[in-house]
């Protein structure tokens, strides 16, 4: 069902996004969501360099509001990191 929908409509969706001045450069950039994972909180880190001995430490503590607090430390090297900052991202609810 979803496969047919994107096959039959992706041309129209792409033209529509271009007409709406949205930054969609290629048809392949368009996404039809057929599944998702919902979380209450998250913490992510990316090492974007090839520096040897990079290091990062993460301490997480779950909160009563279903969120979590995070404390980053021991950071060495070029590392990008972020988290959901205490506030629950969304309730665990699917639709």
């Amino acid at each position: 069902m979803f496969r047919e929908r994107i096959r039959d409509n992706v041309d129209n969706w792409f033209n529509w996004s271009r007409n709406a001045d949205l930054p969609v450069d290629r048809m392949d950039d368009l996404i039809l969501v057929t599944g998702c994972t919902l979380v209450t909180s998250y913490a992510s880190a990316v090492l974007d360099d090839y520096v040897a001995d990079a290091q990062i430490s993460l301490v997480s503590t779950l909160l009563k509001n279903e969120g979590a607090s995070f404390a980053w430390g021991k950071i060495r090297g070029t590392i990008e990191y972020h988290d959901s900052q205490l506030k629950p991202l969304c309730l665990l609810r699917l639709h």
């Binding site: 979803f2 529509w16 930054p23 994972t37 974007d48 993460l58 779950l62 972020h82 991202l89």
Partner: protein, 155 residues
């Protein structure tokens, strides 16, 4: 050599785990939508944010479908069934990752590219991550998943 954005590295490394596209910034866009949903049509911005244009499971003229622009009329989809599941308390690792328990700390290390996904609900966890190459790490204390087709398992 062009500098890759963290969001690109993150998506590239985690998508190979076959759980879909990994969003560097999974927060919904305020005043546009509250969460990613099945049927959303959109794109991923250069910052790694999913931008929802409209949702094909909703009528084309639903108010939430007009936040960016008015879509062309279409017949909305009604999925026959949605498979839902909860994550259990488990850690997921890509290949070339090892883990050692060390008095409550979790230590992952490798000498090659790797990705670490940790899904757990312990009250307090400490992760020390050491690296000698590009990698990314995603920590999700609790999560649920929905899909219109069976999910592929981690490879």
């Amino acid at each position: 050599m062009p500098v890759e954005q963290p969001s690109d590295i993150y998506r590239e490394q985690l998508t190979s785990l076959y759980h879909g596209l990994a969003l560097w910034d999974p927060n919904p866009v305020e005043n546009v939508f509250t969460q990613v949903s099945i049927g959303d049509v959109g794109y991923i911005s250069s910052e790694g944010i999913f931008i929802r244009m409209f949702n094909v499971t909703l009528p084309w003229d639903d108010p939430s479908n007009r936040r960016l622009a008015q879509p062309e009329p279409y017949g909305h989809l009604t999925p026959a069934s949605i498979i839902r599941g909860n994550f259990s308390q488990v850690d997921y690792y890509s290949r070339n990752v090892s883990r050692e328990e060390n008095f409550g700390n979790i230590h992952a290390a490798t000498h090659q590219q790797w990705v670490l996904v940790i899904l757990s609900q312990t009250l307090r966890s400490t992760y020390d991550i050491f690296s000698q190459n590009r990698r990314c790490h995603l920590y999700m204390p609790g999560s649920r998943r929905a899909s219109v087709s069976p999910l592929r398992r981690f490879s």
